[in-house]
């Protein structure tokens, strides 16, 4: 990527009023160029200037002559290295997956995705640099801080009465016992980091996770397991079955954080680069990446907390579970109706995909362990014996495969789909229990992980 000091512009194309207002208010000090007419858009494509790299392009639906698909495809071809974000108010006439296949890096639907879009703006600020007035804060779930921990990032709290952020721990300083006691006493549920320090935050969480997963840790086995369960529970804890979108959006933010933490954890534990594995197996298709990344993170974290399987195995199984479905046109959903809706060749591809994963990975010169192969092969088997591809009886389905199935379904139920209700992870567990696909024993363990309320995990 070119030096951001040289190319510190953001380009907007066809944003509607809401999108434009949001951009200008959230990124007030960022230099932007607005393309708001068809003529300007065509002129952009004619631009012959050599220095035409723009790192960030925000697009909307408001050009008259050009559909979002056309905008995505042509802008992707004109600026192949840019991050292309779509901000839309509705997806009535659009398929998000098709928009991504045409070149969109990410698609946000307002107002539901406002919190996630804010995270995107955080990254804009991080990319563009430390211009004055551009500090953005991100709410995070802290991971088992202890006295004398040296945090590699600044930690702030928000004072609503003063409407300002106060730094309570400076990067590199050790956390004092009194500070932790105060957080506990005041039940401070959310703390904040400077959005430019998210990489340090994810590294810190991943180190903690790795330590808690290390059986050779200095802690007693009981203490280590208890801390691990509680820490992972805290990471999930904000994703509760809140009834309003604001809570749900915060939960989605935490999920995104979890993905980054698990990616770093996997790298530390196995030396495997999460992102490189995805790219090698799935190419740069953003849509597949997002689903695989989310399922991988959920499965891995659940594995840690429930002690079902090895977290690194579940992480890799999550990454590759749908590798044989690359290019599949449909958006699979749980249940027989989906399979019945497919044409014969598509149905075969879908029903065969668990068994085809290993073969597909071999064509990409990638190998996975027999344990991971088995998890992927069984991830669509069902407790009632009506799964596929082998219609295994309940006793033959390994719990790791059930965990992957749970993660897959939690990810599915948590997505925004027009006309459908999105479910929190706990609500998804209820739905999974109703659909009978998973054993009650495994569901019980997972429900235990997800059920607690959020607070900062602190230990004396």
């Amino acid at each position: 990527m070119a030096s951001v000091e040289k190319y510190n512009r953001v380009l907007t194309i066809g944003l509607d009023t809401e999108g434009l207002n949001l951009m200008t208010s959230e990124l007030a000090n960022v230099s932007m160029y607005h393309v708001d007419t068809d003529d300007k858009f065509e002129a952009l494509l004619e631009d012959e200037s050599e220095e035409n790299f723009i790192p960030l392009i925000f697009c909307g639906p408001k050009l008259n002559q050009f559909s979002p698909y056309e905008v995505a495809q042509t802008i992707r071809n004109t600026y192949p290295q840019s991050r292309i974000i779509f901000i839309l108010g509705t997806t009535e006439d659009l398929k998000i997956s098709t928009l991504k296949k045409n070149g969109a890096s990410e698609v946000f639907i307002l107002p539901n995705d406002k919190s996630l879009l804010n995270m995107e703006f955080d990254d804009v600020v991080k990319l563009i640099g430390s211009a004055p007035g551009l500090t953005r804060y991100r709410a995070v779930q802290l991971f088992d801080i202890e006295p004398e921990d040296e945090l590699p990032f600044d930690l702030s709290v928000f004072l609503p009465m003063n409407n300002k952020y106060i730094k309570v721990v400076k990067s590199g300083d050790k956390v004092r016992r009194q500070q932790i006691d105060k957080f506990k006493e005041k039940q401070v549920g959310r703390v904040f980091i400077d959005s430019r320090q998210t990489d340090q935050f994810y590294d810190y969480c991943a180190e903690k996770l790795a330590d808690l997963n290390d059986p050779n840790s200095a802690m007693s086995e009981t203490e280590r397991k208890q801390k691990l369960q509680t820490s992972v529970r805290d990471l999930f804890a904000t994703i509760h079955d809140g009834s309003d979108n604001a809570d749900f959006e915060v939960g989605r933010q935490v999920m995104k954080q979890s993905e980054s933490v698990v990616a770093k954890f996997l790298e530390k534990k196995t030396g495997i680069s999460f992102h490189k594995q995805i790219e090698a197996a799935l190419g740069s298709t953003e849509d597949s990446y997002t689903h695989a990344s989310s399922v991988s993170a959920i499965a891995s974290l659940l594995s840690m907390a429930t002690e079902i399987g090895k977290p690194e195995d579940l992480a890799l199984a999550g990454l590759f579970h749908d590798v044989a479905l690359l290019g599949f046109k449909h958006d699979p959903y749980p249940g027989d109706e989906f399979v019945e809706s497919l044409e014969a060749d598509e149905r075969k591809k879908y029903l065969d995909h668990p068994m085809d994963a290993q073969r597909v990975l071999k064509t990409k010169k990638m190998t996975i362990t027999p344990e991971i192969v088995k998890i992927i092969e069984q991830h669509h088997e069902r407790n009632d014996g009506k799964g596929f591809p082998q219609a295994l009886s309940a006793a033959k389905i390994i719990p790791e495969a059930q965990l992957l199935s749970i993660a897959d379904q939690i990810e599915y139920y948590g997505q925004f789909r027009p006309g459908e209700q999105r479910l929190s992870p706990l609500q998804a567990i209820d739905a999974i229990e109703k659909n009978g696909s998973i054993s009650l024993e495994v569901l019980f363990k997972v429900r235990k992980v997800l059920k607690s309320e959020s607070n900062i995990s602190t230990r004396d």
Binding site: E42, L45, F66, Q73, N77, K101, G103, G283, G327
Partner: protein
């Protein structure tokens, strides 16, 4: 070799993509273009072209008649059996390249493409067809 006089038929339902392909081809020195919005329109223009078309560059995903269906139609027509035909395909569609090869595609270009990438593919295409003609 294809030269500046080569008549190219560009097929894509998106106006802007046709412009981009044309722009890339102009960078490579080509000057003669016919444009079509889908496979059906393209087949008609192929037959009616005052100067014979010598190269087709077609998108894959189009309404009405896809790039693959257009390719099959072209190859079924004895007049165009050896006409160089390049398909533009998104990375997500790579699994369909096999179908295109079986249907007789000369080459494919993965989007997003650069003029240099397109040039390499056109060179390969020319060599392939020149070799076939010599045989």
């Amino acid at each position: 070799m294809f030269n500046s006089e080569t008549q190219i038929l560009i097929v894509d339902d998106m106006l802007t993509m046709r412009k981009l392909v044309k722009k890339a081809c102009k960078t490579l020195g080509f000057n003669n273009f016919i444009e079509a919005v889908d496979g059906q329109d393209a087949y008609q223009k192929l037959q009616e072209a005052p100067i014979p078309v010598q190269l087709i560059i077609s998108d894959w995903n189009m309404p009405n008649c896809s790039g693959l269906d257009f390719l099959k139609r072209v190859r079924a027509d004895g007049r165009y059996k050896e006409l160089p035909f390049v398909l533009l395909t998104a990375e997500a569609e790579m699994h369909q390249v096999k179908a295109a090869v079986e249907a007789g595609v000369s080459n494919y270009v993965i989007k997003p493409f650069t003029p240099d990438g397109l040039r390499q593919k056109l060179e390969q295409t020319y060599v392939k067809h020149a070799g076939a003609n010599a045989a």
